[in-house]
Amino acid sequence: METGLLFQLVLNGLIVGALYGVVAMSFVLIYKASQVVNFAQGEFLLIGAWACWWLLTYWKLPFWIGFPVSLAFMTVFGMVLQVVVLRPLIGEPVISVIMATVGLSIFFQALMKWMFGVFAQPFPPIFPVDQVSIMGLQVQSVYLLSLALSLCIMLGFWWFFSFSRHGLAMRATAFDQQVAQSLGISVPQVFAMSWAISALVSSVAGVVVGVVSGVSSGLSFYGIKVFPAVILGGLDSVVGAMLGGIIVGVLENVAQYVDSQWLNWGNMTNIAPFYALIIILMIKPYGLFGTKNIERV
């Protein structure tokens, strides 16, 4: 048994898991604010990463300009999406809303393939140093950046929801829309804002993954990987989503290790979270931190 390898894998899992956690948080943000299960979360990563890539390679912008510009674009994009597609569906059954996001997902996935092709495109190099050695472990500097960014985003979320005016308005809306409205909060505005923030945060994750392993349509799979994470943490818990993401990231890498050492099944990295998902749904469907629905008739 190679403990070194296992340790490295767990570290990788933590780093990837933090990214999952960020995406899961932005997923939960939309769900909490507007009760929409967003199957197009992965496309936010995809579009954000392609936008940044395009600015950097076609317009030869430096990273510190191209990155904020693409983030600004995604913020507007998320808001427009909510206003144009999701707003007419308010009050429709859950199934219709889910289907609309599924439709958005395949539409934008195909659009991105059409515009940028099916092959993975590498980002131009951003950091002077490729790898950093920490306690004898080789870590890519991009990964360090991604970990730092994830932590920043999580802290930002915490601040936003605890202290900022808009964050409190959002929490109030999630708690009770009618009461929020009577307090003078504009609910449609909160909906639009939640989509904007979600798209913004997801695209940060998209750019980070793009810098690490190139931009390709595989990025949208992050949107699917979000589901094990949020089910594990509880659909309506921001903290749970973060923890769920980290657990899924570690689980993936450990499953891969177990697979390569003993089972030799192959492809466990991608499938293990889904087995976990089914098991959690059977035992504890509301997740670790989710609120259990108690219905009064």
Binding site: L89, I95, M99, G103, I106, K113, W114, I271, I278
Partner: protein, 354 residues
């Protein structure tokens, strides 16, 4: 709104629950089937292929509609069950030498049992969580297809046999069409009948208000699981028909995009409408043809050159699927079945349609 002709009053529940409200509607359906039976005489092989596609896609869409439209549960893994049916039918024929025509319903029953396993969470969970559970089922089954070489032939895929009955081989479009037509009619009549029975009404009650349904003595867990099993059964039969039509089943065909296509059929056809499922299937089968037609029209022009349409026709089709889902949800949430009813009502009342 169904408009009965003047003077046609229902005096019993039995009369109110018939599949065909008037004699003319029965005659219309029989006439339609007769015309379809004559179709191979007129249409070419390609058009027959499209009709066959509409047939088995319609069966699968109907299964999904029973789950989504009638019971209010959502499944994003329908293609995986469809694929399981295709492989199971081929496997049963090769391993146990059961005649293919029997393998098709058997594959449906086998798939229903697999559906039961993944439907177990459905017994406890509501629509949203089931959607996520079926998403997991999609990936787990896809992974299983790629791995289980004894069952699916692995990456190489599995060859299947065509249907043979009384010494006749149904291996051409013109002949296989009748097999598909037979199964389509049987499955649609079964579904229409199910919806008139106690079980069918229970499913609708679960959709409309599950708490009231439970208070009225409907076992929620039982009916949710049953609905999932029935939906898998339809998917299995449709998958088997697909497999014996193509004579080759590939592991990679049953991806999530295919599942979403089934959902699109249900949405476009009309949630909770038996005939709507067939309309939705027809729409989804014919839409790629339409996209191709438009692309051919534009071929060579400046639009084609600037947008690179010729080389990316498959992406355009995917985009058309996504756009169709969104546009129907926003502008025509009740689907084609509803539109068809409105057209019928308009002509019945013409010229006094207001």
């Amino acid at each position: 709104m169904a408009l009965a002709p003047a003077g046609d009053f229902r005096t019993s529940y039995r009369a109110d629950m018939t599949i065909f409200p008037t004699r003319n509607s029965l005659i219309a359906v029989l006439l339609g089937i007769a015309i379809l039976c004559a179709a191979p005489l007129v249409l070419g092989r390609y058009e027959m292929g499209l009709l066959i596609n509409i047939g088995f896609m319609g069966i699968a869409a109907l299964g999904l509609n029973i789950l989504v439209g009638f019971t209010g549960q959502i499944s994003i893994g329908h293609a995986a069950f469809f694929g399981f049916g295709a492989f199971l039918s081929a496997y049963l024929h090769e391993k146990f030498h059961i005649p293919v025509i029997l393998c098709i319903p058997l594959a449906g029953i086998g798939t229903a049992f697999v559906g039961l396993i993944f439907g177990l969470p459905a017994a406890r969970l509501k629509g949203l969580y089931l959607a996520i559970a079926t998403l997991a089922a999609q990936f787990i089954l896809e992974d299983f297809f790629a791995r289980a070489r004894w069952f699916t032939g692995g990456v190489a895929g599995r060859m299947t046999e065509s249907v043979e009955l009384f010494g006749i081989r149904f291996d051409r479009e013109e002949s296989y069409f009748y097999i598909v037509l037979f199964f389509t009619i049987v499955m649609f009549v079964m579904a229409a009948n199910l919806m008139r029975s106690r079980d069918g009404r229970a499913l609708i009650a679960v959709r409309d208000h599950y708490l009231s349904a439970e208070v009225m003595g409907i076992n929620l867990a039982y009916y949710r699981t049953l609905s999932f099993a029935i939906s898998s059964l339809y998917a299995g039969v449709a998958g088997a028909l697909y497999g014996h039509y193509l004579l080759f089943v590939s592991v990679e065909a049953f991806n999530i995009l295919f599942s979403i296509q089934f959902l699109a059929m249900v949405i476009i056809g009309g949630l909770g409408s038996v005939m709507g499922s067939l309309m939705g299937a027809a729409f989804m089968v014919l839409m790629p043809e339409g996209v191709q037609w438009v692309a051919d029209l534009l071929a060579g022009g400046w639009i084609d050159r600037t947008l690179k349409i010729g080389g990316s026709i498959s992406f355009l089709r995917e985009m058309a699927i996504g756009a169709a889902i969104i546009l129907f949800l926003v502008f025509e949430p009740d689907g084609l079945a509803h539109r068809w009813k409105q057209i019928k009502a308009y002509w019945k009342l013409y010229p006094f349609s207001h």
